[in-house]
Symmetry: none
Subunit: 455 residues, 2 copies
């Protein structure tokens, strides 16, 4: 659509400058001292949506940070797309590792460096500028709604209540989310799934106090040794998870999906070199992309016990503790797997120790069917601007609100991420390529056009 | 000796108060921030030895913390006893488990609670007050030397050099050490052996940085899981240590010694109840006393890796580390076992991780013959004040410098420990019974008397 291209070309510098202004607001949801910044950021998002052409924009207070809602309704009988995103960002620490201020955005080597540049202000702003493009060129043929929340980085504690109490307002035919990545501009891809999560903590207690390892060594169970044996028991020699029933509900990926995944460019040598490991390790009979995409995993996130300081201390510790989480795939249930993990660790506890285990938090896996209208529209949009069919890939991470949206609104979600895995999300020097930002603004209008057209 | 008893009775409160003052100095040798406290503690020990009547007291600097030397020479032709002890203490962590400050000594229920109360300041101070008793009552009939070091809790890295370069100064007929325990005041015992020690640290490195456990989980080895498997491999189902060659040099205890050990009063139920465990666990086919006395062991002293804070963080950590130590029995060699442990962990390292392992410190096992003059004097001294013959037992702990002393000075060592196994050595709420402290001061002068008399 030449008219979109012309409009965007003429306004590209302004688009970028507006984003930089938004990135200057330290909207860190986790820190109460930024409460005013959160409100200020919600108001800035509201203003920009109004300027872009939304008919109605409203800030909804919640028990936490507010939700910004906006809509541009052309014709209530036409399809409606609900865009979800978030204006809050992760804390910026460790500050000393940033090359420039996290809230003083700079452009260097074609990249926007700032906290939130990719996750998620930059990607939300692509949608605002796509709306503007469609409205100002009089080419919008369907309806668009926006739900931009301020608590994604703290687990969306108040979004469930907001969604379930505003079902009519949020009613849509699909939900479009740009809060993920693609393989590269050369190899566009669409995340068709996110994994679920079960996260537990296991504490093994042996003796009621730290003991002298000489006086008592050999006479009582060592909780570190016992915990290590328990952890070691979770994977077999093929790196299959041994916990009884763990794989029972796994929806096995089709041969066709595995074939498509295998077609994605992947260089195991380069991948290993980037991580600094000599060899990769994962579940037997699956490729690396399958291991991080279509297979559930069990990872140790932390462990501690006994003396961890400088030098040597001959202690036989009283306790050892581990943080353990599983990534889940369709149709595993987070609640069921969490219970399974808790039960497993309690059941294998030998009589010489006491094991306590509790849940941290979880989330359900989610999958977008590639034959859904939303996926088809996204794939066609990307093909229009990249001149390449996108590869469907399964993301390894988790977006716990997906299952909530589908349950409450009864529609499918599609992920169109324009970031890169290397964008340092949640880390110092977060970035977003200027080119990816523009490519997103260019592609999104096609999504709305095709979604309205596809029958 | 009524004159000793009278003197001690008259001064008992002062003896105790002086010890409390010494316990206030946080002489933690493992932590560099306590360097000044170490010097301060050495000077306090020096002052107390002078006050007690030593002729000559000197602080010898070393490459680490200083050694305090003292002597009271009556007649160079008379026998000389070298008292060895240490003024340094273990780190006090975990601080939150102490009922009172580790360096704010309090007396409660007849026990002195403080770090170092038993190990070893309290026991060293018994010798200082025994010297005072002998000097002030003009009853010393032999010579006493003191070698009180400041690095016992970190493996005495500089004592070897000090001893070998001061052989003439330290020359003695036996070495007397109170850095161990007895079964109880009702069942006095003498440790006839200490175990040796090998102490290593093993670090497993997987990816070169902490990774997102969703994006990378399942694709690379998790260093915590690998380390756990390595630890789990060290013991078989009978709790035998599986490291090849580990038991090769173990001198099997005679049936007679095992029979003597079995005769010592021991209540497994009470022992387990004191430790708060439902069941004991140890090497198959050996009793608890044998497991902690005549058998070598391998214990995990500490482990850490990944996220250890509040809540959940979905990290796949770059590193996991463990501190691991073995207790050795005659005729195992610390150097040989340390090498064996280091080699073992390197040899079982799978190719997906990098394992580095290094030695902390070690020490050789030691045995005191019960027919030695020193043992006979100790047994007779205990009988004089306890009205019971002491039982010879093997201690589970290690005093690494024993082998060094015997080699360099060519004399036997005897252990007269007045602590209890339940004194929480190296643990929170370390204690020393006031009664045991006084009993030690009462008994030690008899040792000097008998050692000088026995032909």
């Amino acid at each position: 659509m030449q008219v979109w291209k012309d409009y965007q070309e003429k306004n590209k510098d302004r688009f970028l400058n507006e984003l930089l202004e938004l990135l200057k607001i330290p909207s860190i949801s986790a820190k109460s001292e930024h409460k005013d910044d959160m409100q200020r950021c919600a108001e800035a998002v509201k203003l920009r949506l109004l300027e872009a052409g939304a008919d109605k924009v409203e800030i909804f207070p919640t028990d936490g940070h507010p939700v910004v809602y906006a809509e541009k309704i052309i014709d209530a009988t036409k399809p409606t797309v609900l865009v979800y995103g978030h204006y809050d960002v992760q804390p910026a620490e460790p500050l000393e590792l940033w090359h420039s201020g996290p809230f003083e955005p700079v452009i260097k080597d074609g990249k926007i460096f700032a906290r939130g540049s990719c996750d998620d202000k930059g990607q939300v702003y692509m949608h605002v500028k796509a709306l503007e493009t469609l409205v100002k060129t009089n080419t919008l043929t369907s309806n668009i709604k926006f739900c931009i929340e301020g608590e994604e980085e703290v687990g969306s504690p108040n979004l469930g209540k907001f969604v379930s109490s505003h079902k009519e307002l949020l009613k849509a035919d699909c939900i479009l989310i740009s809060d993920s990545s693609m393989l590269s501009l050369d190899t566009p891809s669409i995340d068709i799934g996110v994994r679920g999560l079960s996260y537990i903590e296991v504490e093994v207690t042996g003796p009621n106090r730290d003991l002298h390892s000489g006086v008592y060594g050999g006479a009582v169970a060592n909780p570190i040794t016992i915990l290590s044996k328990m952890i070691a028991s979770c994977h077999d020699e093929n790196n299959h998870i041994t916990i009884p029933g763990f794989y029972d509900d796994v929806l096995v990926a089709t041969d066709e999906e595995r074939k498509l995944m295998a077609a994605a460019p992947f260089d195991a040598k380069e991948y290993a070199a980037d991580l600094g490991v000599k060899e990769l390790l994962g579940e037997k009979d699956f490729t690396t992309n399958e291991r991080t995409g279509i297979r559930p995993t069990l990872e140790l996130n932390g462990i501690w016990g006994g003396y961890q300081g400088e030098g040597a201390k001959t202690v036989l510790p009283s306790k050892a503790t581990a943080k353990i989480s599983a990534r889940l795939v369709p149709n595993q249930s987070s609640e069921k797997i969490t219970k399974m993990l808790l039960d497993y660790f309690k059941s294998i506890a030998p009589p010489y120790v006491t094991v306590s285990a509790f849940e941290h938090h979880g989330g359900e896996p989610y999958i977008t069917p590639i034959d859904s209208k939303a996926y088809q529209a996204a794939a066609k949009a990307i093909e229009s601007t990249f001149n390449k069919k996108p590869i469907p890939v399964r993301g390894g991470g988790s977006i716990p609100i997906c299952a909530l949206f589908e349950k409450e609104l009864g529609v499918k979600i599609v992920f169109m991420g324009f970031g890169l895995d290397s964008d340092n999300l949640h880390s110092p020097n977060e970035k977003f390529n200027v080119e990816n930002f523009y490519k997103g603004i260019e592609t999104i209008p096609y999504f709305h056009k095709y979604f309205a057209e596809i029958k």
